[in-house]
Structure formats: C-alpha cells, structure tokens
C-alpha cells in the first residue's frame, strides 16, 4: 500500500471494526517514534466508541508535552486488509492543527509485521495474509 507523504511525514488509511460497524480512518500517521496506536476521538465516535466510565485512562508523556487518552479493545484494526483482532487502541483528542486521524504506533507495526519502504513510500506486511 502507498504511503502518502505530507510535511515529510508518512500517512495511511486504516480500517477499524467495532461491534459490527466498520469505518475508514484517513490521515493516520505512521510513527515508529510512538509506542502505541491512538485514534482521534471524533473518528472513534463514528464507530460509536465514546468515553465510558469503565474505560481505562492513560497519560501519554512525550518530549515537550503530555495528553490524556482512554483505552478500548476493538474487534479489528487493519491497514490495507492486514490487521489484528482484539487490538487495544488509545482514543484521544488529536489537536495538532493539521489533519490527523490517528497515529499508527510500534505496537501495531510490530505485531502486524509491517515492512516500511521509505524510499518507495510503501507499507507491506510479512508473513501470510491474516483473515479478517
């Protein structure tokens, strides 16, 4: 799958399924500097994922800032048909001043066996095709 380059950063479109609803999330940053995967809460809301009293809360602490998110296990999360079942994702208010649907972190990239070719700007996956 082609990566889209903007501001010298690489973006993909992700697919998320939660309780029977599947949505596409555009403008997801591929970020090997991010430990975990986070989705913008406005997109999550389209799949009826809202902050609930039972959700786990988490604080992400980075260089120069921090933010609070909640954590939800979703049914299926994929890039170009390749994805993970029962994957835990952080949901947050991604207020960075440019279009950002989410951040694809190392937890997904490693578990899905992603291969990034930054010269050709593509993302592929090692191993057999996982069934949806």
């Amino acid at each position: 799958m082609r990566l889209t380059s903007r501001h010298e950063l690489a973006f993909v479109t992700a697919t998320l399924t939660y309780r029977g609803t599947t949505i596409e999330i555009p403008d997801v940053l591929v970020d090997t500097g991010a430990a975990s995967t986070v989705i913008d809460a406005d997109h999550a809301a389209k799949a009826s994922i809202y902050l609930e009293p039972t959700d786990r809360l988490r604080r992400l602490r980075g260089v120069g800032g921090h933010e609070h998110v909640f954590v939800r296990k979703i049914d299926w999360f994929a890039i170009d048909g390749r994805g993970l079942d029962g994957f835990e994702i952080e949901m947050g208010e991604l207020d960075y001043g440019f279009q950002l649907g989410g951040i694809l972190g190392m937890d997904f990239l490693r578990a899905a066996g992603a291969i990034l070719d930054l010269g050709a700007l593509t993302i592929e996956f090692a191993g057999p095709q996982a069934p949806p």
Binding site: H7, L9, L29, D31, T32, G33, A34, A35, S36, A41, A45, Y50, L51, E52, P53, D55, R56, L57, R58, R59, L60, R61, G62, V63, G64, G65, H66, E67, H68, F70, V71, E93, D95, Y96, G97, F98, I103
Partner: protein, 87 residues
Amino acid sequence: MRDAHPDQWLVIEVLDARPQDDVRIIDRVSVIDVCDGGRATMKRYAELRRLHPHREFCFVHTSMTELKIEERLWLGLRGLRATDLSA
C-alpha cells in the same frame, strides 16, 4: 470529589501527582467542570488544553472507585504544537 459529584463526568485539573510503576498517582486535584457524557467531557478537556497548554487537565467519571491513570512514554509527534508543522 465523589461525594460532591456522584455518578458524573468531570474535567479536573491535576495539581500534584507523581509516577509509580507506570501509574500516575494523583494526590491533589481541583474540579474544573461537570459535563454531560463522555464525548462532551473529552471535548471540554481538549478546549481547556488549548486555552491553558501548561496546565494538566484530565477527564474522569466519579463512579471510578480509584483515580487510576496509566502512564506511557512517547517520542515522535507527541507534544508538537500546530504551528510546528503547518508553518
């Protein structure tokens, strides 16, 4: 806080906190707003962050028996502000 606001969504400000084994132990907070539902609470949290970027806000529901917030280290994009990339 739970007695004063039973079964409600709150945006709180963290005044004193410390890390302990990947969990942020929160010692002192102040209630900023009572909100209607989880979505509205996160929106209010985001708004307060924009207005006061150097203060720490947090969303909680008072049915939570303890104020437990996991903590993770991030590198990369986290913490960059809008102007860094849109310029």
